[in-house]
């Protein structure tokens, strides 16, 4: 239906002609109705434009709203530049607000993640082990460097050599990029009875040159495994006194602050490991000292 004001205005002849034409076609399907409505809309707009001839000059107050509508073609619009400037300022303000909110959200996520890491406290417990040169090592010695840590033993049939091969390859891939921070690969034995410094040296020379072996007394090794929640269980001994040690097969990534960041199992390839470590390095931010959080 037509809006109410129209019947009150003097109808130009064009309007009448259109109305008659529409009545004549009468119910000729939806499409003709839609196109009929469109042409009526066009006529309506043309009618609005023609109103200045009908309004007396100057416009009395009752005509004012309509005159203003119709006055549009006579007064020049706001210059394009000014309109663009206003739109640009509004968009800039919206973008700035959005960026600020996103920054705040990231901050909150980071502090939440740090709180989680602290709560899990995996690998927080310090380890005290001896390296292959006989030097006492603890976690503090490796702060400031990223560490990839693997628990294994030298008499391992197939798993440990494969995992150490992967670890060496991942470290090699990461070493190729000079922009990345230094990465220290570590091997901690879960079989301290047999794996002394000499055995470790002999075993590890087949892998990455910087791969450092750590051993110690049974209690020290047990404490280190407990700190990382690594399952260790020596199997039964056979006639030769040989045995295999069942253990969880995981490579741990520890950040320069000594926090556990990620762990990689048997299913990850060396390239995937390198990619993941690089992502952690890129996302890393040094922690403020614990008191300042």
């Amino acid at each position: 239906m037509w809006p109410r004001p129209f019947p009150r205005w003097p109808r130009p002849s064009r309007y009448f002609r259109l109305r008659r034409r529409r009545r004549g076609s009468g119910g000729g399907g939806r499409r003709s109705q839609v196109s009929g409505r469109r042409s009526q809309l066009r006529v309506m707009l043309r009618c609005l434009r023609s109103i200045p001839r009908l309004c007396p000059a100057p416009c009395p107050s009752r005509c004012l709203p309509r005159c203003r509508l119709s006055a549009a073609p006579d007064t020049p619009p706001l210059p394009l530049r000014r309109r663009l400037a206003v739109a640009g300022a509004a968009a800039g303000a919206a973008a700035a607000i959005w960026l600020y909110l996103r920054h705040e959200k990231e901050q909150r996520q980071r502090s939440r993640r740090l709180a989680e890491l602290r709560r899990v406290a995996l690998g927080q417990g310090d380890f005290h082990l001896r390296d292959t040169a006989g030097v006492e090592r603890s976690k503090a010695d490796f702060l400031g460097r990223w560490v990839l840590l693997y628990f294994g033993f030298t008499h391992c049939p197939d798993v440990c050599p494969e995992e150490l091969q992967k670890l060496s390859r991942a470290v090699e891939l990461l070493e190729r990029d000079p922009a990345l921070p230094p990465l220290q690969p570590l091997f901690v034995t879960v079989d301290p009875e047999r794996d002394n410094a000499a055995a470790l040296l002999r075993y590890l020379r087949d892998f990455h040159p910087r791969l450092l072996g750590l051993t110690g007394t049974t209690e020290q090794v047990r404490a280190a495994a407990r700190a990382f929640r690594v399952y260790v269980s020596a199997g039964p001994r056979d006639a030769d006194g040989d045995y295999v040690v069942d253990h969880s097969v995981l490579t741990f990534l520890v950040d320069p602050d000594g926090f556990f960041r990620d762990c990689y199992g048997r299913s990850r390839t060396a390239e995937e490991m390198a990619r993941s470590v690089r992502a952690h390095m890129d996302a890393y931010e040094p922690l403020p000292p614990a008191g300042e959080e």
Binding site: D158, P161, R194, D195, A199, G235, D238, V244
Partner: protein, 79 residues
């Protein structure tokens, strides 16, 4: 007893792979692969032989699970 070196490990793995290939081609008939079994046992420490045997059983079981699905054992002790 010192741990096997990389060369010894690779020799052991090679012997194991040959033995397993023989088993695969003869449908797990150990009698047909006696020679390879002896070579395998001589190249690898005893513990490793046991470990690899268990590994083979596990791999076959895994394949069975993947193809046939899981059938719970009928004589289950716990209810």
């Amino acid at each position: 007893m010192a741990a096997p070196t990389m060369e010894e490990r690779k020799a052991c793995w090679g012997a194991r792979d040959e033995f397993w290939q023989c088993l695969d081609s003869h449908g797990d008939d150990a009698a047909k692969c006696e020679k390879l079994r002896r070579a395998f046992e001589s190249r690898c420490p005893q513990q490793w032989v046991k470990h690899f045997d268990k590994r083979r059983d596990f791999l076959k079981y895994k394949k069975k699970l993947e193809t046939e699905g899981y059938h719970p054992p009928e004589a289950a002790g716990k209810s």
